[in-house]
């Protein structure tokens, strides 16, 4: 289903702490997203004026959950702002405050406005050939896995976090197995260790992963070795989210792909390796870099 051709103004319905994260909920007049899709978000007031007078551009966030049905709009001082719609539902986003944009979004209160463009991008595809779904997440990367688990009949969910505070984010999913870097919650270790053990028992699986690049690269590598299909939800800096700026490219076997329209979910087989955002070791061409040209 195509996205509405215009950013629309959502009304924040809740902003709840979930461990070290915030869950931002907003009434969404649009249709339901498919798991793995994202929205470009910006606060409708005071977007800008933060650190270095940013944010200026909208920011990309995965839909973490979507509740269908007429959404309730809380009382708001500013009636003009409140935004009802017969259809639609409530979109949930999981936020980690890492800079001016996420910081501003984490401040939003019920009744306040949220600009959203979406749902955007290509999401997860269902497992084929009777394979079992294994969802592997790290940190805030668990967001798209929650909505994917909602859509699947059954899935194994393996999550890794920095520490106990962040591990509370696991409540976004149902009966997830959790590991932490410091062992302060669940087993101490890496989520990829859980994944390997699980795949030893359940090789007939499809892996769905989202998290930091090193984790995704480890997932990609170990699935490649075992010949297990994997779908990876990647991140990259985005300006537009709808294919306009060519800024969000990631290197694939067939050259650069715009993550916002060809992703954010990519088949692991398309990737030679998952790069750190900000790493630029790869250049598929011998052409000279065009300094200063758009």
């Amino acid at each position: 289903m195509p996205a509405p051709f215009e950013r629309h103004r959502l009304t924040v319905t809740a902003n709840e702490a979930l461990g070290a994260y915030r869950v931002l909920k907003a009434s969404d007049p649009g249709g339901p997203p498919t798991a793995g899709q994202f929205a470009m978000l910006a606060a409708s007031e005071r977007w800008g004026g933060g650190e270095d007078e940013r944010p200026f551009l909208p920011r990309a966030f995965s839909y973490a959950r979507w509740l269908a049905g007429r959404s309730e709009v809380p009382p708001t001082s500013d009636r003009r702002r409140s935004h009802r719609s017969p259809i639609g539902g409530e979109a949930h986003f999981l936020l980690e405050d890492v800079g001016p944009g996420t910081h501003r979004l984490c401040e939003l209160q019920p009744g306040e406005g949220l600009w959203a463009l979406g749902p955007l991008g290509v999401g997860f595809k269902a497992p084929s050939g009777g394979r079992a779904a294994v969802l592997v997440g790290g940190g805030v990367g668990i967001a798209p896995l929650a909505i994917w688990q909602d859509a699947l009949d059954s899935a194994t969910v393996l999550l890794g976090f920095r520490d106990a505070a962040h591990a509370n984010g696991a409540d976004l999913c149902h009966n997830a197995q959790v590991v932490t870097d410091d062992g302060s919650c669940g087993r101490r270790g890496l989520v990829t260790e859980l994944l390997e053990e699980h795949l030893d028992e359940e090789p007939h699986s499809t892996v769905y992963a989202c998290g930091p690049p090193p984790m995704l690269e480890a997932v990609r590598a170990l699935c490649a070795v075992r010949g297990i299909p994997a779908q990876l939800a990647l991140e990259s800096g985005m300006a537009c989210g709808f294919g306009a700026c060519f800024g969000c490219v990631v290197p694939t076997r067939s050259g650069y792909a715009r993550l916002c329209v060809d992703g954010p979910v990519l088949d692991a087989a398309e990737l030679e390796r998952v790069e750190h955002a900000g790493g630029h070791t790869y250049d598929s061409s011998s052409e000279p870099v065009l300094e200063g040209s758009p």
């Binding site: 195509p2 200026f56 490219v249 650069y256 200063g292």
Partner: protein, 293 residues
């Protein structure tokens, strides 16, 4: 507010800045609404070159104060595939098509113009002269003499309206515009992005600082450059008789009006479309409300 631009009838004065709106990708994302609510009076496609380009290595984006820096590096599928694959799709848009091309030599540019001249789907050609000269490293558009020479050589190869997109990274943009006009340009457009640098955010202490962008330097766009854009558009409009397409940081109808008041015939929306794909539609709406201007 219908407008005649180089003999092309336009519904209003708002177009897009080349490379800031991909109508084909947008049609994939937004479906038929893209065509039904198409906000631009004419569509300017992203710069194409003779041979395909993959563009610069990522990261390609940096957010600046009231703007952004990009180092995209003009990725494109090259003239041949553009003509074969994209042109038919773009011809379906409810607006005239302006094809933006760039070449690093008069020969290359002539080839591009000749190819465009042959296609009826194309209403006009925009020539991006912000291309670095292989010898000097400067934009070929930065020197009036050099610009006039190149244009003089390529102008005869096409009978379509030729818009020269000037580079803002020069000492005297008005002199470049005059040179372009005298060499047969039917219009000029400006400003392109300002050469800019984005340092990598400080990581582990001791790590060597360097550029954030894969391309090293990039181009600054958005509201931060609007005052510079207005100065260059005003300077150019005062010196040339051909129509001027003004752009640089336009976010509202009031901003667009400032460019028209400075002498522009058309205005283009670029970076603002990233913040809202229908920003140009909003601006056109604001236009029709006196209040806006």
């Amino acid at each position: 507010m219908s407008i005649d631009f180089c003999g092309i009838a336009l519904a209003h004065p708002l177009v897009n800045g080349s490379g800031t709106f991909d109508a084909i990708a947008a049609r994939r994302v937004f479906g038929q609404a893209l065509d039904e609510r198409f906000p631009f009076a004419a569509f300017v496609s992203k710069t194409i070159t003779l041979r395909p380009r993959t563009g610069n290595p990522p990261p390609r984006l940096w957010e600046a104060q009231a703007g952004m820096i990009n180092s995209i590096g003009l990725p494109n599928k090259g003239l041949e595939r553009y003509m074969a694959e994209d042109l038919p799709e773009l011809a379906r848009l409810p607006a005239p098509l302006i094809v933006n091309v760039m070449g690093s030599s008069a020969q290359e540019i002539a080839q591009l113009l000749r190819a465009c001249d042959a296609r009826t789907e194309i209403a006009a050609i925009e020539l991006n002269v912000s291309c670095p000269n292989v010898k000097t490293g400067l934009d070929i558009g930065a020197d009036p003499q050099q610009l006039a020479t190149v244009l003089g050589q390529v102008r005869p190869t096409s009978s379509k309206p030729l818009i020269v997109k000037l580079t803002p990274n020069c000492a005297d943009v008005a002199a470049c515009a005059v040179a372009a006009e005298s060499a047969g340009a039917d219009a000029v457009s400006l400003i392109n992005t300002l050469r800019a640098y984005a340092p990598a955010p400080p990581h582990t202490p001791g790590a060597p600082p360097g550029p954030w962008l894969g391309g090293g330097t990039g181009g600054l766009s958005g509201p931060a450059i609007r005052p510079v854009a207005l100065a260059q558009v005003a300077a150019v409009a005062a010196r040339v008789a051909v129509p001027v397409v003004g752009m640089g940081g336009i976010q509202t109808a009031r901003h667009a009006r400032q460019f028209l008041d400075a002498g522009a015939t058309l205005v283009a929306v670029g970076t603002e479309s990233f913040r809202d794909p229908l920003a140009a539609g909003r601006i056109v709406r604001e236009f029709s409300q006196a209040s806006a201007c």
